[in-house]
Symmetry: C3
Subunit: 274 residues, 3 copies
């Protein structure tokens, strides 16, 4: 599939498939966003389950249709559980999505990521520019960490990382870039700056990618569809919130409303995909 | 008291008592729902406290008017703490409410439940059909787990479980069934399907039961009152949300608004109890 | 600076500075409020980070502009991490704000607080009357715990505590009192009773104080500014919520909206500072 062959209608089909099939997504994620991530998945029509004890993560990853790992609020026992779940997810062939929250912020997070990559690369990696550049430094040893990564630099890092992991990498920001090992590159320019003023929107994007990859076998297309939906919803929700005189509090609720109710016509009319 | 002797007015009296007395409810619950559960209890007029360290759970259960245990996002140290709190709660004679989240999903959860039941049966158990059937299999050894339990089958399991534990069992679903060891059986048919699209509504029902059982000594009536309030609120909140063009995000806020503000006339007019 | 020298305009300047500079606030806080606290900081324009593993807390406290510690949902490993972060924060000279949630409720919490104070006193301590009186009993050994502390008694305890710790102490309630070791005393009488019906509003006040103290070197003024903003927002949000027929659910969203959008004219017109 060439880049241009991916149309808005393909992506909307994937939204409908998630809504219809309601895939079970097993998340091992951070304490801050657990509630919002679960609500995002439910609004989308997916079925979230969270379990992190080493005593049950393999069993849970064994019944899920996708596995989502997120390294915020880490501690050693959680890394061990993520490794077990990652190994089980890969063995079963379900998509594994990794969110390297705060990669580069502390040496501990970098070591945790290195340990996870030793177990196996995720199917899909999603982070902001700095995080992706930090992970690229770890995984392909070509550069250090840049905490204020320019978008272009991050895309280069993402492409090298996609090649090295034979996977999909998404750099989210004002423009979201989704690249894969075959050289495909989708760019999405929807969204709203308020998405950075609600905690867990990025982490929820990662969870949504898990739900889409559970039902769409092309991981690059699934990632693009998830980010496309979130971007359009983020933009429509901001307009609705501002029209009512609201701010980032009501915006959070309107994001969930949009994931729940966004219709095809709005999606097709507003999507900016290239 | 026969089934029909329990009127809507009795249940509303219990709502008023919770609002007036503001019972202290100690919850040891899962990470995903802690925030929402606390907000549900506060909206209701109760006073939530959460503490899980073995160093303080007995002291906290020692000052609470009810104890709520929930096995989502379990890990071994939490099971130990739940056992300590359960023993203390039973010794003090306060109501103990157990939510067997995900019972049957993994062997670990089943073992955890078995360990809790060895310490002692809860006063009240609330779950969906599959969970209740799974627990019934553990506790009364009459059947296995059915993850798509039909309502009628689950009610049978609930009745056997209530007899075996000499307690109250609530099976929630499109119709909520509340049964006890004396053979009483209340059916509630309020609610809205969106209640399954907000994370923690079921867990919050369990927390609410704790608050009601703290002030109403008849645990079967207390459970019925809590489920009745939540069902009516869930239905009214859905209408209010839909009238404003909202979805499951604003619905979550409207659920809390309803728990806070629902009035007697609406409750009495809409309750479907049999 | 005498008490009367602190004007509403000074405090509004601090609000603007937080919004402009977006300080990085490292919180080690309880599971119940993590999500809401992060959203409060984001609504305010600050940048929250949460990390609690002993493997990284010192590194995270090493890059933050303020450190916030909160002892709800404690467990031993978290106390150890708080001690490490507290030592690092003090060594770097960044403000450290402590919220003694539930002080006096269990012996374990009291021991945890005593351990933290052995490492070093926080720059600022914020709690309700009972909590402050409990901590005063620990720290200055002059009185026991009173779980229904009258405001006046708590202010006396706060003043002794401020002197003993050479820090700032805030007793929040219907009137917020902010005192310091130099004898300054600010009183704020904004706010709304619904602030006690949303979980984590008090904990979020503490997190906000961290953000203000990160940009305003006078910790007493910073604390007063944070509490002033929250009080005015709480009052305006209640009016907006009630005008729309809402309750504590929509109120939570409106609190965040207000932190995001409150304007200077409203703040100056409504602030009740003495």
């Amino acid at each position: 599939m060439s880049d241009t062959a991916l149309s808005a209608r393909h992506l909307w089909d994937d939204v409908c498939t998630v809504r219809t099939r309601g895939p079970l997504v097993h998340s091992i994620t951070n304490f801050v966003v657990m509630n919002f991530n679960a609500n995002v998945l439910l609004a989308l029509g997916a079925s979230p389950v969270m379990a992190h004890a080493r005593e049950e993560v393999e069993d849970m990853a064994g019944i899920a249709q996708a596995l989502v790992l997120n390294i915020g609020t880490l501690e050693p026992a959680w890394i061990e559980s993520m490794k077990l779940a990652l190994a089980r997810g890969r063995a079963r062939g379900i998509p594994v999505v990794l969110d390297p929250v705060g990669a580069g912020a502390t040496p501990y997070r970098n070591r945790a990521l290195a340990e996870l990559f030793e177990v196996g690369a995720p199917t899909i990696l999603r982070g902001n520019g700095s995080e992706i550049m930090s992970v690229a430094g770890l995984a392909v040893a070509t550069r250090g960490v840049d905490s204020n990564a320019a978008s272009d630099e991050a895309v280069g890092a993402a492409q090298r990382l996609a090649t090295a992991t034979r996977g999909v990498v998404c750099v989210s920001g004002a423009v979201d870039h989704i690249v894969d090992a075959q050289g495909r590159h989708a760019r999405l320019s929807n969204g709203h700056v308020w998405m950075t003023r609600v905690t867990g929107v990025g982490c929820s994007a990662t969870a949504m990618i898990g739900a889409f990859a559970a039902v769409q076998p092309d991981a690059w297309r699934a990632t693009t569809a998830a980010m496309a939906l979130l971007g359009v919803v983020g933009e429509v929700a901001a307009e609705r919130t501002q029209a009512a005189g609201g701010g980032v509090g009501t915006y959070q609720a309107h994001l969930l409303d949009g994931l729940h109710l966004l219709d095809e016509a709005t999606f097709l009319a507003r999507l900016r995909l290239s």
